[in-house]
Amino acid sequence: MSETETDDLETFRSETRAWLEANCPPEMRKPATADTDVFWGGRNAKFSSEPQRIWFERMRDKGWTVPDWPKEYGGGGLSAAEHKVLRSEMAKLGARPPLSSFGIWMLGPALLKYGNEAQKKEHLPKIAAGLTRWCQGYSEPNAGSDLASLQTRAESDGDDFIITGSKIWTSYANYADWIFCLVRTDASAKKHDGISFILFDMTSKGVTTKPILLISGYSPFCETFFDGVRVPKSHVVGTVNRGWDVAKYLLQHERAMISGMGERGVGRPLGQIAADSVGSDAQGRLDDSMLRGRIASFDVDEAALAACAERAVDLAKAGQAHPAFSSAMKYYGTELNKRRYEILMSAGGVDALEWESERSRQGARPRAWLRTKANSIEGGTTEVMLGIVAKRILDLPGA
């Protein structure tokens, strides 16, 4: 990096810091603890508070809901280096993401790479502005880890496809406006070769959703049914029957997102949370020495993973990243997050067992603990991730 570039970046850093200081409401500088603390956007979106609205709108106006997307599609047009600066300044302030969305994390990157100009112009600005909420139609009752065996079929009818089948584990399908969906457009081809990636409106005739009650007592996932849904062929992203390429590319982004679910470096350190419940000795050490050791080992691994996530971004920027590395991060990040919640449950003891009381915020901790168990299943199980690492990175035989 040249000296001028370094100087420019430092200017950008100080300006960004000042802007965030001036514009991020104090309420938005605390980690999100409740579901309503997260703003997902969409046609029916409601802000849970005034600061949430203000923060979202200010960030949206700068294009910083999607800081590294091109400006013409509603993004901030930041370079990778600037984006890194913005992220680190937001983290320093504890600033929440102004908008959470599968459109940002998953569909957007796929559209930027595979979408045609009309599709980009149609969908990206609405994602950036929080106007459309998307869901992901990937898994099916008989296509989980073996995703490519999916059966939902799209039959040609003039300029349209007629889509029939069902999806499962569709996150927030009951709140979503649109779906990006994998469908089989050629039943006679090999399983990876007959799939297309298509977009359609969830209010289309023939779409129904049914929430699934999970062990956490929440229903973040749905079963989604398609009964002869008519979708224009122009809604296919990329080439018909080549949807698996788009699907895989999107999965890399999904895995990167899930591996980051551990809210690393945000909120109170585990050691302090544990100190509140189990107490400390005269030297300030946790009174439960085995728990203290587990937390310290966790902290070592968490800090190391954070360095690795930073390095993964830097490697990508330098063109040295392995495309399957997100699978490695997904495996480790999700297992680590499960460890985090096992520690939190252990530290919380009896208090962490309450499911419905006001005191426990309706069992926030045990419900979150149970929710993390899906981390190593959704978006590709730990075992599938390890298989991908073995095959694509290590080049082991027959994997």
Partner: protein, 379 residues
């Protein structure tokens, strides 16, 4: 600062790798061990290191060095880890050079640093006294005597202790074991009266010694840094050493891993390559991820040291702790997956296991550094 090697660092890596893999593959260590070589390393290779600017890599240019940083030192250490090359680089060029450069006065720097750079002086830090690394427990006594001090006590795991031309000895000038105040670093001539050196042949066939000081007289000019206030200097120097050892351990782990994956792709049992078995695939994949995460933590620590040694402690603790658990896992999986072959002396894998064990103890093991992190975070 990006956590990837710059072009210059990549070139440095390539030239270090070229020299080390050519002149000092694992067979080099094996022959030094088998011949019971009296110096335990190759002087000829050390001169090549000096000629390439590695011996004085961290030494400022005004003292004949290359004036590079800890990232660069880590690059060389990682390559040393790949072939387990016995080299004075760690003790002399990283630890002692840093101690002299950070703590030395003008006279000390101009006396010693140019000799380190040209490869003519070997130096080492003598710190550990008990069975585990506990720097604050230092109790080797230094009592004032006339214009100087008299040193008495014992040190263990003094790297290159039997070949060093200069000891940097951590001693207690005040207070008692466990206290930060009262620590002082001294420059001691190994040939001085009252110094007894016992070369300890170690499990890894690398150089180490026990030294015993009995009323060893040193003058006031031999104090490195300030009397009684050596703890901060020592912290920094140890953290630099820890970062470097972490880099060696990443190199070692990566090499063991590569050799093991190669074996999985070639060894056949039950009519197929053992690398086809999912049980082994998943273990290999887990180990790969472990190594990559530890590599990032190591680079982060070296970068933190380059930015400000005094503020790098937590990053270094994370790196050394991770390096310990990762290397331990890597060498165990390496031996296990090589089956009976891994147990033979004829096969190189065992050398990596032995070196990993020594690196783990060097400057504090994973437990020590995990504890340090817990304390730093206040729980």
């Amino acid at each position: 600062m990006a956590l990837v090697l710059t072009e210059e660092q990549s070139m440095l890596r390539d030239s270090a790798r070229g020299l080390i893999s050519d002149k000092a593959p694992v067979s080099h260590l094996r022959s030094l061990r088998d011949s019971k070589d009296p110096t335990g390393f190759s002087k000829e290779l050390w001169h090549s290191f000096a000629e390439m600017g590695f011996a004085g890599l961290l030494v400022p240019e005004e003292f004949g060095g290359s004036g590079l940083g800890f990232m660069e030192a880590g690059v060389v250490m990682e390559e040393i880890g790949r072939t387990l090359m016995p080299s004075p680089f760690l003790a002399t060029s990283v630890v002692a050079a840093s101690a002299l450069n950070r703590g030395g006065n003008a006279a000390q720097k101009s006396e010693y640093l140019p000799k380190i750079s040209n490869g003519s002086l070997l130096a080492t830090l003598a710190i550990d006294e008990g069975t585990k690394h506990r720097p604050l427990q230092t109790s080797l006594q230094a009592v004032r005597a006339g214009n100087g001090f008299k040193l008495s006590g014992a040190k263990a795991l003094v790297v290159d202790g039997h070949v060093a031309d200069l000891f940097i000895v951590a001693a207690r000038t005040a207070g008692s074991a466990g206290e930060r105040d009262g620590l002082t670093l001294f420059l001691v001539n190994p040939k001085a009266k009252g110094v007894a050196i016992e070369r300890t042949i170690m499990v890894d066939a690398h150089n180490a010694a026990r030294i015993e000081l009995s009323n060893v007289e040193v003058n006031a000019d031999s104090v490195l840094g300030e009397v009684d206030q050596g703890a901060a200097l020592l912290d920094g120097v140890l953290d630099i050493g820890r970062g470097a050892v972490a880099a060696e351990m990443v190199g070692l782990s990566d090499e063991v891993f590569n050799r093991t994956v190669e074996y999985l792709k070639n060894r056949k049992q039950f009519g197929k390559l053992i690398g086809e078995f999912q049980a082994l695939q998943h273990r290999a994949a887990e180990l790969y991820v472990d190594i990559e995460i530890t590599r990032a933590a190591m680079m982060k620590a070296l970068q933190a040291l380059d930015a400000d040694v005094a503020k790098a402690a937590s990053a270094v603790a994370v790196a050394k702790a991770r390096a310990g658990t990762t290397a331990t896992r890597a060498v165990q999986e390496g031996v296990q997956m090589h089956g009976g072959m891994g147990m033979t002396d004829q096969f190189d894998i065992g050398f990596f296991m032995k070196r990993a064990r020594v690196c783990e103890e060097l400057f504090g093991d994973a437990n020590y550094h995990t504890e340090q992190l817990a304390r730093a975070r206040g729980y």
